[in-house]
Subunit: 520 residues, 2 copies
């Protein structure tokens, strides 16, 4: 049957030509160039800002109008407010003088890859909703397996494994925990809920996201064992074995172990091989969290960090930390994808499609918490292609070299002590305690104990003061942790543009402020 | 004590000037302009591509080299591969002929706001790690409360409420469920784990993310009641009350209800007011999911969708669906933030800081699953300022008008039927069944039943064929659902650039392909 188009044509003529408030492609081109120029200029002058923002709580809000504008504003004005309103409230993570936390480094190719992703604006929840989004992701994550010297079982082309990009290591660890929970209970927890008997294990140094995940997963933080660590802050495998056996005797059900390669506090490396043996003996899911340090394995000389990873059921690291790929980009591998997929899969009618039902494709929505997903593989692809393996290795080596140089300076200055081994790009150090703490405490009477406590408080106070003054100066930004109960400064060399001159200047500033500590 | 800088100076001179593989700001400026130009051109010619990608599984991967490049490649070559390799595998969500699923609409100001965010590259996990990231987010989410006519209790300036940007509604619903779980158990689930007695409620039409959340949270899908719906696919409150009372009698613990304003299948609107009364009577957490439709409340004439929202403990909608803000940007409000924060907060030493401990600031890391977070408020700020309330209202009204026009055409064509009320921008319709299905089935003998089943299968097949041919043509993309067990086509008008001519052309193409159905 043919339709009479004239009727339709008649109807269209009644439509008013709509007024449009959209930004036209030509306007986008003009303003886009302006934004790119602004970013290029920002990166050129980023060292001129104090690294840590100096605003007070509420200061940024006070500059913003109370209500949304009724009518649209000119783009120049909006961009101008980035300078006027936003920049004073920025802590400059892209400053080469940023040594705080772990880095969240960015780079030109990553920013531009992400821009292409924004421009395309596709959803990769299903293969069919943009096949390139899924296939590029699978492919680039397969590239990374040999690049990092990881076990072949994580390849999508292996019998059962594969990788997925998640937003953060927190989410990846949660997914690992959930897959472990379901593998252990044969998917009964998904149906009936948890029963308070599953137990998870990490160390006292494991990232807080694992405790958060244990709570989210309904397993309960009481059922998370924080296993003791050795003097290098690495998990003690015999302590893990002890806890597992104790729990089994108590009729609890051990199910998941998180080993960390490069802890947040001190970059400690858990003995994955020994932990893996215990996991194998007890059928525990072994998750390896190498969020920052994983990138180091790009360089063969640092691949000692992968020792024992062949025992892992899942592995995660963050290109958005140290691999020049803008946040968010976490990489998560599983040795057997079916547990993960079966744990997270729910297939309503409105998502059914031929490609999914053929079984020939990956639908990444079943690999993480969210349904919707951005085309994040583009930025990772851009980074790897722009730098090449050679370029990535060069800059990782340079960061490690600079951190090691810094650690050497700390060692050579009697006022300081290293608080943990510095094996890669994180140096934990602190001002030494005053003379009292060097006394013999063998005689632990009350007076000595009080003195020791007072010494410790003094030492912590001195280190806190040193950090506050350095950060307050705006010249650099570093953060702290506690190791052996002592306040410790963390100096992490990983920002994209950090060079020798920055690290050298940081050490000068640390020494200057240390020299002033006696004179408040 | 003063340090002898000469020693340091001596050491620096030994550093080699490092080779750099980074993209310089000047190179970024040049390539950034090229990427912006590429996106402007892509948006100008997006209608020239088939909306639904035509590649076969594996086709994109087969064009990619097996291994990562050892040496860096020229940026022109990388960008060229977007055209050559990626575009054929793109399903064009930014095409004005995209009517599938719910939209994920983008716009110029959103893309550029997100680009600024990439350029700044800050982490907003804590207020102190970039105060502007937190304060702009809080402020813009406060703007949205009156813009949408939502209850004032969701304002950050109210006694207990506030909003946060999440990645997706899936994550927001999970967080709501977790806060409900902990409020109900007085935080015992977080400590001891779940015990299989907590019950959650949604309707048979609720988005699959709620079932996924119930599994993730360790509550078990057996403890999720899919409450029956009325003929308009809205939850029946008396059925909800019935289930709640049955569960209480069975010594279970009702805790959470998800009401949907605009379901994914048919845009059904659950009766939030009546549901709210039941929740209040039984102290159940009421979460309102208005992921797509929530945006309609920008227009006062569509605020009927907010009826009863004052009962909600939490509310979520996605600017990344229908408010011209690139994915990901979900907005999540809670009436009492302390439950959410206490549920998700873990504070390790390395995140402690003065601002947090003062209690004067918001640390958004405690408001969601992840720790790290991108500066997503920028794109939302850019969108609201570029369009103004007037511009946003104009385009939302236009989308609804076009959808209503389309629904009118469906109503006027005897070959079709509307499958659900079309109140906003989603039209659910299908080809009517053949003559057999109009027979009187009062006499339900086997022959009649068989005939009815056969009729249904034929009808579904015809609708599937119509959809496949339309999607296969590349002229438009729409998806399906099942309503009353019947395959139903969904036509959602929400893509940023969809205008009258596109909807009219879509209706022409639907009629053309329908006319050809008799002639395979």
């Amino acid at each position: 049957m043919l339709f009479n188009y004239q009727i339709i044509d008649y109807k269209i003529t009644k439509f008013p030509m709509p007024k449009s408030f959209h930004m036209s492609p030509e306007e986008f081109r003009r303003q886009g160039h302006a934004v790119v120029d602004w970013i290029a200029d920002y990166h050129s002058r980023v060292e001129s800002f104090p690294v840590l923002s100096r605003v007070q709580p509420g200061e940024i809000r006070s500059k913003l109008p109370a209500n949304a504008p009724a009518h649209g504003e000119a783009f120049d004005q909006i961009l101008g407010d980035i300078e006027r309103v936003i920049l004073p409230g920025i802590t400059h993570w892209q400053s080469p003088n940023f040594y705080a936390y772990f880095p969240a480094n960015a780079s030109g190719p990553a920013i531009l890859g992400d821009l292409v992703s924004s421009g395309l604006g596709v959803q990769g929840m299903l293969w069919s909703t943009s096949p390139a989004c899924t296939e590029l992701e699978t492919h680039v994550l397969d590239w990374l397996v040999p690049m990092l010297g990881l076990p072949e079982k994580f390849l999508s082309t292996s019998s059962a494994g594969g990788g997925v990009i998640q937003d953060t290591a927190s989410s990846a660890s949660l997914c690992a925990l959930l897959a472990a929970r379901e593998r252990t209970t044969q998917f009964a927890s998904n149906r009936k809920g948890c029963d308070g008997r599953l137990v998870a294990y990490c160390s006292t140094q494991t990232h807080s996201s694992v405790e958060k995940a244990v709570k989210i997963a309904g397993m309960g933080s009481d059922n998370l064992r924080h296993v003791e660590v050795d003097r290098n802050f690495a998990m003690r495998p015999e302590a893990l074995a002890y806890h597992v056996e104790l729990d089994i005797k108590a009729a609890l059900i051990p199910c998941f172990v998180c080993a960390t390669v490069g802890t947040t506090s001190s970059n400690a490396i858990d003995p994955v091989r020994e932990i893996g043996g215990i996991c194998r003996d007890h059928s525990l899911w072994l998750h390896v969290d190498s969020a920052m340090s994983g990138t180091a394995a790009l360089c063969p000389e640092f691949r000692f960090i992968n020792d024992g990873v062949e025992f892992a059921d899942s592995y995660t690291f963050n290109p958005h930390k140290w691999m020049f790929t803008n946040f968010d980009c976490n990489v998560f591998y599983v040795a057997d994808r079916k547990h993960l997929i079966q744990t997270l899969s729910v297939l309503p009618e409105y998502l059914r499609n031929q490609a999914t039902e053929s079984g020939a494709v990956i639908d990444y929505r079943d690999w993480h918490i969210q349904l919707g997903r951005r085309f994040r593989a583009l930025k990772l692809w851009f980074v790897i292609r722009h730098y090449g393996i050679e370029g990535l290795q060069h800059h990782i080596r340079e960061h490690v070299r600079l951190a090691q140089q810094f650690a050497g300076w700390v060692r050579g200055d009697s006022r300081f002590e290293l608080a943990a081994p510095a094996r890669l790009n994180l140096v934990c150090f602190r001002l030494r305690a005053g003379d009292h703490s060097n006394q013999d405490h063998a005689n632990q009477d009350q007076a000595n104990q009080d003195q020791a406590n007072q010494d410790q408080a003094n030492q912590d106070q001195a280190n806190q003061l040193l950090m506050d003054r350095l950060n307050g100066s705006g010249d650099l930004y570093l953060t702290h942790t506690k190791l052996d109960g002592k306040l410790t400064l963390r100096f992490c060399v990983g920002q994209t543009n950090t060079q020798a001159r920055h690290v050298e200047r940081a050490w000068q500033r640390i020494q200057q402020e240390t020299g002033k500590l006696g004179n408040p």
